[in-house]
């Protein structure tokens, strides 16, 4: 009898604010250690937390975007633990009255079926500081810049059955948060991290097995590997007649294994209680409605528009939506030129190579001029690539550049016919061979004509005239 896995995920994602959740220190990444710290973050006596309004709005948006019910009353609680990453001795979180509850996200499973992953809750909490353990053998170093940074925690029900489904859910959630402007979800910077609760049970049984929690995995690949390893480890334990111990484990990306944190038995006794420093968060329906109405287009609608309205292929859409920066460039170009397929092709074949460079300056409006010049036959593809290479870093006006460089395509049939006749005259042997059926010599003639026109001949018209001359259909 086989086993099945039961997986629930908790995602911590940093929301896009300028300042911390309960203090007004800024939260820029990569600053000097302990340079973004205030009295509140240090937990100095006499300080009081004051909640960041923007953080509340973004958390509501996250709740709405994951189909949750937004609770008009939610409360903050103190979660106590002793670890030097939070000087107060507790983390401010939400416990029995979270901001949003009872949502869901749909994923497509590997056999193309729709599966609903229920979301238990979305709540707000503050991040902890960073401890560096590997710079000294004797001590750990503490940087409190992250202490108090606003996070949302999104918790699923145990509805996930495989490592692949876990990754699909995470990718979808990440896209929703990025496209909703809620979080940058930059995994290297640790602002999208995942804890996985994993248990296994015999197929056909209802009772959940003992679960373990794998903490702080920060890449999709590692999530997959960590869950795969953990499922196999638990199955082997059970088959040997041993027991799975409920514990927290860490994933080591070098060995692809999970390790017990050997934490004390009562480490989970957080002694939550309502934070007396913070009033319950009361939200008006107007505020919630305002946020709901501010959502321009859901991530799902965006995909559906790309596929149906713009008729882009599934593969192309998958690449576009894999990166918000590509989507934004595509959308901004389409504001100026209604050629979705051509724009998409050029973005995926050319722009994609440059768009992440620091010196990328090209704007959608200007790129639209290039697309229009291509579509109307004003320039050919080679000239377009030449222009693109010049405007990527300058955003110089494409139309001006076409004129200045004299790259307008030569489309005059009379002019091109004259050149073609000269080329045929100079290449009698090849002409005879092509008439005898060696049609592959077409490219030779196209090449010769392009050479004569200094690359500016319109390839469609050249092809058409050549075919007439060679009597090819």
């Amino acid at each position: 009898m086989g086993f099945e896995a039961v997986i629930g995920l908790e995602v911590h994602s940093q929301i896009k604010t300028n300042t911390k959740l309960f203090s007004s220190s800024n939260i820029d990444y990569g600053c000097d250690p302990n340079s973004n710290v205030s009295e509140v973050d240090l937990g100095l006596p006499g300080t009081l937390p004051v909640i960041n309004s923007r953080a509340v709005d973004l958390a509501i948006l996250a709740g709405v975007s994951t189909n949750c019910r937004i609770n008009k009353k939610s409360t903050f609680a103190r979660k106590h633990y002793f670890y030097p990453d939070l000087p107060k001795g507790y983390q401010i979180s939400q416990y029995d009255e979270p901001l949003a509850t009872k949502g869901y996200l749909d994923i497509t499973t590997s056999d193309a079926m729709k599966k609903t992953i229920r979301i238990n809750r979305v709540h707000m909490e503050e991040d902890a500081g960073k401890l560096i353990h590997d710079l000294s053998n004797d001590y750990s170093m503490i940087d409190l810049n992250r202490a108090g940074v606003p996070l949302i925690e999104i918790v699923t029900e145990p509805d996930i059955s495989s490592p692949e489904e876990a990754v699909k859910y995470l990718k979808k959630l990440r896209n929703i948060l990025i496209f909703g402007g809620i979080s940058d979800c930059n995994m290297e910077q640790g602002n999208f991290r995942c804890d996985a609760n994993v248990s296994v049970r015999r197929v056909g049984t209802e009772k959940l097995g003992t679960k373990t929690e794998i903490k702080n995995v920060n890449s999709f690949r590692f999530v997959q590997k960590a869950i795969e390893y953990e499922i196999n480890r638990q199955i082997q334990l059970i088959e040997k007649g041993k027991k799975v111990i409920q514990e927290t484990r860490l994933f080591n990306s070098k060995s692809n294994k999970t390790y017990s944190m050997r934490s004390k038995e009562d480490a989970h006794d957080y002694r939550y209680f309502p934070d007396p420093d913070l009033q319950p968060l009361i939200l008006s329906q107007e505020r919630i409605d305002k946020i709901i109405n501010s959502i321009p287009e859901s991530f799902e609608d965006k995909i559906s528009n790309y596929l149906n309205k713009f008729q882009l292929s599934r593969d192309d859409v998958d690449i576009l939506i894999s990166d918000k920066i590509l989507c934004d460039f595509f959308d901004s170009t389409l504001e100026y030129v209604n050629e979705p397929k051509v724009v998409c092709n050029w973005i995926l074949s050319e722009i994609i190579r440059y768009i992440k460079q620091d010196n990328f300056k090209l704007k959608g409006e200007n790129f639209a001029k290039l697309i229009r010049a291509i579509v109307t036959g004003k320039i050919n593809n080679n000239s377009a690539k030449e222009i693109l290479s010049k405007v990527i870093e300058t955003n110089e006006n494409v139309d001006t550049l076409i004129n200045d460089l004299g790259l307008q395509q030569e489309s005059s049939e009379a002019f091109l016919s004259q050149i073609i006749d000269n080329v045929i005259k100079d290449n009698r042997k090849e002409y005879d061979r092509i008439l005898n059926g060696e049609t592959k010599l077409m490219t030779f003639f196209v090449g010769q004509v392009m050479k004569e026109t200094k690359g500016k001949g319109n390839p469609q018209i050249i092809n058409q005239i050549l075919k007439e001359r060679f009597r090819i259909d």
Binding site: I51, D138, D143, I282
Partner: protein
Amino acid sequence: MSVDKELVLKISKLSRISIEDDKIDSFIKSFSEILAYIDLLNSASENGLKIKEKRNVHYSIRDDELISKLPIDEVLKNAPRKDGNFFIVKKVIEED
């Protein structure tokens, strides 16, 4: 909830506050009294009084703007041990 020695020791451990053995009994007594008082509050009849939740609770909220933070030397001023811009503490990770 009944308070016994075990519970007092557990709370002492969780809160990292050590209790001398001869004080345990007095803590059992204090904890029990506090809990009994809360039980008393919970058992009080509302006598038809409905506690209304204040609808327009005033709570402090702020805009997402940097107002103040501390210079690094102020941040580290009270640190028992430091190294450069870091606080340092006894190593707190178990190596695998």
